[in-house]
Symmetry: C2
Subunit: 369 residues, 2 copies
């Protein structure tokens, strides 16, 4: 195998597929990236068996072949090469020579045969969405998954649900639920899959902030595939039935508060200084007629601050995990946030009128804390 | 005590004096910052008993007094306050109230009497230097100290040596020496002190990059004081005799190489990718007539690269700890670096003609590694 390609093009491709490389693994081949130059173009592939990423790079293939190289080292070496054409040559004993100007690296590779290729997924019945929307909807929900949850695998994934021209993305962890809806440009058959959180979060890092550029999503019984630009992301699905979200939602409320997102964010941000890591101290909202008092009281000290609100309904005192409220405030784009409360023990909802987002947070019973 | 001051002014002052706060200590009072409003102006003081920093901030003193507050929390709280005037009031039981707009913090302080003030040092016979020069000379030498060296405390400090109108700053760790000379604008009596490395490195972070602004340095038998802007940095000295540097230096050489600093830096930077943390692999310089080959060979792989040089004297093959060479290359400002060699076992020198800098590095015997 012998290929010649631009250093930046190669570095960009390696950075994309490196997102499928596990940080810890007992199967060392998973830490490798395959250079697949068996055809007329060059593909780079990373695959941890749950998540696989493949990208095509602009490259001259002088001699066909394939070889796997340690992902971390390969990326580091390419990044530090001079900004010029890079020649990669496979020699005897799987030794790979990387040349750029007068610099020459020799690194042992692993035979391409050892590498796990991605599953073959047919590109039929895909749905189309802008990269911007897909990236955003992931970032606006992913924080609510329970990432390392091995006892309830479902909570470690995100629900993608398609109904006609609506894509609904849901994440939850037992204390909160994040729901976002997106209008699709076409109408599609119903679909409901749960994608591992790691897949979604790595995917969001590769997608561009572009409303022009599209991504396509394809499904099989066991896999989902995201295809965009010259990159393909394939992931196993989490099998089983997702939670029945709709029965957890309610549109009844006793108190509705409209508040400046920035003011509430700044106030809770300040209050959080008094909460030690691991400490379960709630931030208290005391909702009065025209203002809401934000209060926290811990072993470190106390804070209180009143912020102006528009209120409908009853006065209320309620406590929350400040992190959960901050996570929601960070991903609301509107200047005003509307919050719906029932009572100090019932979940509250951050949502807008068209319900393109709906965030549920369970309160903390602060009298007993 | 009651004071009112601008949030940013207060945050800036706290950031400066926080540099004297130890990260770990068994004496909890050392983790506090004193607000000293006993006079007409407000001083902030941090003091870890070896290094003390005091700075005066613009502030209205409504009621005189003093109180110590936990450094970390105080700085965090002030940083997150709205950009406005901040009122700090001392109440009963050493409880401090911090108000800004509608936000109010209550934090327990420690009585000012518990705090260790800085030693009183007379501002006489000081030397004057620009903040830029002082900041730079520290950054250009400090890397060569042996920071945590408890068996040889001398190596954990920097020598400041004044001879007439020359300030010489020296750092060494047993494998290398860094020497910088600066011309002072006046002529001063001879002086030779060793300042703890921590003092020098914290000082360099507070000094501004300004050639206009001056710093003054004052000495006593046990202390050194740096005075600039509205800040005073006082430090204990390391007592004892510093190493006899001059007998370690030599101007004889067998080989002189002139090389592009950037090319050599880039090449060693690449080579270093193949060195694992803690691994003592040398980078080999093979000096030929018109080029120098940079080589490394480790369990990870190998690299070689030839770079153009101007050479005087003999050919030579010599090995170095790549980190030591990089540390020097980073702080040389010239485009070309001149390196003087004797033989593969003798130290080499990176220096310019006027010897405003002179960096000695011991080679590694690469045949035995």
């Amino acid at each position: 195998m012998k290929i010649v390609c631009n250093k930046n093009e190669l570095a960009k491709g390696l950075q994309i597929v490196s997102r499928a490389i596990p940080t810890k693994t007992t199967m060392s081949i998973l830490e490798y990236i395959l250079i697949d130059a068996t055809g007329p173009e060059v593909k780079l592939i990373g695959n941890d068996m749950e998540l696989g990423i493949e990208t095509v790079i602009k490259c001259d293939v002088m001699e066909r072949g394939y070889i796997a190289l340690g992902a971390r080292l390969f990326l580091d070496v390419v990044r530090k090469l001079p900004e010029t054409d890079v020649t990669i040559t496979l020699g005897d004993n799987s030794i790979v020579t990387i040349n750029a100007l007068k610099a020459e690296f020799k690194i042992p590779g692993r035979a391409g045969e050892e590498f796990n290729f991605l599953p073959d997924i047919a590109r039929i019945d895909g749905i189309e969405i802008s990269q911007y929307s897909l990236k955003n909807v992931i970032n606006q929900t992913i924080f609510a998954i329970s990432a390392g949850n091995d006892t309830n695998r479902m909570m470690s994934g995100e629900l993608l649900e398609i109904n006609s021209d609506i894509l609904r993305v849901v994440a939850l962890d037992g204390h909160r639920i994040a729901i976002r809806k997106i209008n699709l440009s076409g109408s599609y058959p119903s679909k409901k899959v749960v994608v591992p959180g790691k897949t979604m979060s790595e995917l969001s890092k590769i997608l561009e902030d572009s409303t022009e550029k599209k991504a396509e999503i394809f499904f099989t019984d066991k896999h989902v595939m995201f295809s965009f630009d010259r990159t393909t992301v394939v992931s196993r699905l989490i099998e089983g039935n997702y939670f029945n979200i709709d029965q957890m939602l309610s549109s009844d409320y006793e108190t509705k508060v409209s508040v400046s997102r920035k003011e509430l964010t700044d106030s809770i941000d300040r209050a959080t200084l008094l909460v030690k890591e691991g400490d379960k101290k709630p931030v208290i909202f005391e909702i009065n007629d025209n203002d809401m008092e934000i209060r926290i009281n811990s072993t470190i000290g106390s804070m209180n601050e009143s912020i102006d609100i528009n209120k409908q309904g009853k006065n209320l005192m309620i406590g929350f995990n400040p992190k959960f409220v901050m996570d929601v405030l960070k991903v609301i784009e509107e200047e005003k946030a509307d919050i719906y409360f029932v009572n100090p023990k019932a979940p509250c909802f951050f949502k807008n009128e068209e319900e393109s987002y709906n965030y549920l947070i369970l309160p903390i019973n602060f009298t007993t804390v």
